[in-house]
């Protein structure tokens, strides 16, 4: 989990990991391999690392199923029938098997975000990045998205989550990072960082939010 005040560089950190933003310095490692190198295509790295956005960013002209299978069809070259079968399995996994033919505009925010999670999972990623996945949701839809994410974590998926859902961070995460002003200020177990922060800025932040 990555937490911290607005403008502290949490989203930029995620975008650096899948090379949507090329880091000026530093190294990004994926299973021990440094990937921000000129001889590795950013597209290849992005196939390995899924991403879920605050504003869902579903493709408005495609059905839920086609959103999920676009990467399979256009990046991995999977034939449409096989892709559709896999897409339906993934949609069922996020509880939306019955919405395969709905367009994004016909889905609630929570449903859209779950489709976006299925879309990220379709590429069979080694890790999934979540950029404030529940911040744009109406309160009644937050739980359904967090439940899907909790299930993913239980299944052993590597996830890096930028979030303001502190109870979710406390219950699900293995490691919490607190960022401020573009730098990691504190990191450790949820217990350490959320309940007993050592750094002044982290203390100030935690005292203002509900843990």
């Amino acid at each position: 989990m990555v937490i911290g005040p607005s403008g502290s560089g949490k989203s930029t950190l995620l975008r650096c990991i899948n090379l949507l933003v090329l880091p000026d310095k530093g190294a990004v490692y994926l299973e021990g391999l440094q990937v921000n190198r000129p001889d590795i295509r950013p597209e290849w790295v992005r196939q390995q690392v899924g991403m879920v956005f605050q504003q869902f960013n579903l493709f408005a002209h495609l059905t839920a199923l086609d959103n999920v299978t676009l990467g399979l069809r256009k990046v991995l070259g999977v034939d449409p029938a096989t892709a559709a079968t896999r897409g339906r399995v993934l949609l069922s996994r996020v509880g939306l098997g019955h919405k395969a033919d709905a367009y994004p505009a016909e889905l609630s925010g929570g449903q859209q975000q779950r489709v976006a999670i299925a879309r990220a999972l379709a590429m069979d990623p080694k890790a999934v990045l979540f950029d404030e996945p529940t911040s744009a949701l109406d309160p009644e839809y937050i739980k359904e998205v967090l439940d899907v994410m909790t299930g993913l974590a239980r299944d052993g998926m590597t996830m890096i989550v930028v979030t303001h859902e502190m109870s979710f961070a406390k219950n699900v995460s293995k490691r919490v990072v607190f960022m401020d002003d573009g730098a990691v200020i504190e990191e450790g177990t949820p217990e350490e960082v959320l309940l007993h922060p050592r750094h002044e800025r982290a203390k100030a932040f935690m005292s203002k939010i509900l843990v």
């Binding site: 899948n18 949507l20 597209e43 290849w44 992005r46 196939q47 899924g50 991403m51 956005f53 504003q55 960013n57 579903l58 493709f59 408005a60 002209h61 676009l70 990467g71 256009k74 990046v75 367009y103 994004p104 505009a105 016909e106 976006a116 879309r119 990220a120 590429m123």
Partner: protein, 284 residues
């Protein structure tokens, strides 16, 4: 939201427009062809039964034969050429590189500031001279048609620019995050949405093209208005029949309507066929 775009079961005068729009393209083309055929048949029968004066018939026949055909052909030439120009210039306008976007902006501003008629006359008289193909009126006409394509291209560039810009940045980022290449992002995510968003405005522009082609009469292109003026002048000066002037322009108005309607219905069918809830407008 959920019911938008789904067929309505109501069948009264309010749903007639919808039903008309939702009718298959073929049926609507048959409808237009039927109206035009009816017009021809009515005129021909009037002629055969002697209901129509031979001299009036002789004034109307080039309008129907040459005029309608040429107006349709000019429109059919200007629309695709103009759309290609508009697409490329509109694409250039949203480029991040000033060296690409700046000339496109200058082009649009310049062309929009000049009347079509001036562009036509300029192209007709000057371009054959520049390319040293003087003495050929056909070359001048080709350039004049190109001038109209360039003119509509400048307007369509703005339509396409709006279409490109309507695709949210986040969707492009999401597509990139899946590992799609720049080209794939364009063909799989940006263009399908640009297409849907721009269709209504493009249909509007295509309708204008049909009527703007009437300006080609100024350089002697034998389209509807050319023959209309010809026949009207004949009716007045030679036959002194002011009523025939009205008949002539009425028939020309009907023909323009038929050609415009045909083209906008094709666009309307595309719009209907590719409609997606929440994207662009649903026809009617």
């Amino acid at each position: 939201m959920a019911t938008e775009g789904r067929p309505s079961t109501r069948r009264d005068w309010r749903t007639f427009g919808k039903a008309l729009v939702r009718a298959p393209l073929l049926r609507r083309i048959v409808l237009v062809a039927g109206v035009l055929g009816g017009l021809f048949l009515a005129l021909t029968l009037s002629r055969v039964w002697g209901l129509i004066d031979t001299r009036l018939w002789n004034l109307l026949s080039p309008i129907l034969a040459s005029g309608a055909t040429n107006t349709f052909l000019f429109s059919a030439a200007i629309i695709p050429v103009g759309a290609v120009i508009g697409f490329l210039v509109g694409w250039a306008r949203v480029s991040r590189h000033p060296i690409v976007s700046w000339p496109a902006t200058v082009f649009v501003d310049l062309v929009r500031g000049i009347p079509q008629l001036v562009l036509i006359l300029f192209a007709f008289f000057w371009l054959p001279y520049v390319f040293e193909i003087q003495g050929s009126l056909d070359a001048g006409l080709d350039f004049a048609v190109l001038a109209l394509a360039i003119h509509t291209g400048a307007y369509q560039a703005e339509i396409f620019r709006a279409g490109f810009q309507s695709v949210p940045r986040g969707q492009i980022e999401a597509a990139e995050a899946l590992g799609l290449s720049k080209g794939r992002v364009m063909t799989s995510v940006v263009l399908p949405q640009t297409f849907r968003v721009t269709l209504p405005a493009l249909g509007n522009e295509f309708a204008l093209i049909v009527k703007d082609s009437s300006l080609l009469a100024a350089i002697g292109a034998q389209e509807l208005v050319y023959w209309g003026r010809n026949s009207a002048q004949f009716a007045l000066t030679v036959y002194a029949q002011i009523g025939w002037v009205a008949t002539t322009w009425l028939i020309i108005a009907m023909l323009y309507f038929a050609i415009t309607y045909l083209i906008t219905q094709v666009v309307g069918s595309l719009e209907h066929h590719y409609r997606v809830p929440g994207l662009g407008s649903v026809a009617f």
